[in-house]
Symmetry: C2
């Protein structure tokens, strides 16, 4: 089982449109960008796209190259690509999702080839030797992280969220994950955000947990600017995610 | 005043994802594609983007390069690009639109730098020597076509629609347009579509009108396949639109 981060940016991405801060300037000149947070999970039999904010999915994934999609929630930066993927001559594609009856715009009304399947919290789905467990997160729309178990290995993908609900934290503490990909959008700041973690939130959760390797994702340009000078403050085992990063 | 067609495709675009029909195959091999219908209208002082289904707007239009945007309606294939354009370090951008209080997803709730301005049917807006008149169309969501008048020249952009409301038709007949860009999604077919024109619908409207030059847009792959063998049936003055086509 391996995961590839396809995007590690927040809703604005990096560089931010029109922004001339240090981080955005560097992203432009180096052409190292942060696209909307998303990932590809692969096992021998499964190829699962997690979140669909990328707008080139029809090019990246010709029909038949994905076994299914799992989306964390229905905010536009996580589902935009579905609007482009739904109309086509392709076999039906299962979209695992949280029980959000609002969805996004007309996706439920006009699903095209997409087959939405609402999951229940903590109730795993089993597919081809892979277990996928939806873990509720704390966000302004019903949101699931996903815990993937295969061949004794466990990878968790947890964005978008501010902190973790007690039940989800307990779930994660019961059996340590080999790898956690975790929401970390902002640098330290006084005002608490209602939807995303600051680096201080993540450092505190990490200190209180038994997590081994934690990869930051959903990174905003202000955090990138902060990291440029403060990366050394991150504990061993905490990694800054990057688009294209393959993690096993 | 001139107009450039940036996209001339229907919601699926051409080639359609996974489709192997003649038209889609040709589009793939020739790399001549139909992106979501949209256009750029330019005068000496104005640069107006009409519809925002393109997903590379942040690259095409750096901050300050558009004077405003006009959208025909809030279906995803006409507004997807706004989700990517709204978060940024850019001056406020006025979005002229029909009075659709539903909008699309959370665009109204989280507009970012976008300033939506709902227009009233047939009530022109005047900007820098240009008059923009919203013309109601017939579609499953409140939809405006736009009539642009500048320096004695008139260009109309009319998609998405099936036919024309009597009042809009009268408006167009009163003073002929130099150029009409018109919805034509399908080849001849028996079943009437509720949202878009077939080529026969357009031929009939054209015959009954005093339109000079009419350019087809919002073209689907089935119409492209039909046109490959039947282009000679189009009257003089009726032109098949293409992405990148500049019309004056």
């Amino acid at each position: 089982m391996r995961m590839t981060l396809l995007g590690t940016g927040d809703a604005s991405g990096v560089p931010v449109y029109g922004c001339e801060c240090v981080a955005c300037g560097k992203a432009r000149t180096s052409n190292i960008r942060r696209l909307p947070s998303s990932a590809l999970l692969e096992t021998q039999c499964e190829r699962i796209l997690i979140d669909t904010g990328l707008t080139d999915l029809t090019v990246r994934f010709p029909p038949g190259t994905l076994t299914r999609i799992a989306i964390t929630h229905f905010h536009p930066d996580h589902v935009l690509g579905l609007f482009l993927l739904r109309w086509g001559c392709a076999p039906p594609l299962e979209i695992l999702c949280p029980p959000d009856n609002e969805g996004c715009a007309d996706l439920y009304k006009n699903p095209g080839t997409l087959k939405f399947k609402q999951l229940r919290p903590y109730e795993p789905v089993f597919v081809n030797g892979l277990s996928i467990t939806p873990l509720p997160l704390i966000h302004s729309k019903p949101t699931f992280g996903y815990c993937f178990d295969s061949d004794g290995k466990r990878i968790c993908y947890l964005t978008d969220t501010i902190g973790l609900p007690p039940e989800t934290r307990s779930y994660l503490m019961k059996r340590p994950c080999d790898l956690i990909v975790f929401d970390c959008s902002y640098p330290p700041r006084e005002k608490k955000n209602q939807n995303h973690n600051t680096i201080n939130d993540v450092l505190q959760i990490y200190a209180e947990s038994n997590f081994k390797q934690l990869v930051l994702t959903h990174i905003g340009h202000e955090l990138d600017a902060w990291l440029a000078n403060n990366k050394k403050l991150l504990p061993e085992g905490m990694i800054v995610g990057a688009d294209g990063m393959m993690i096993e």
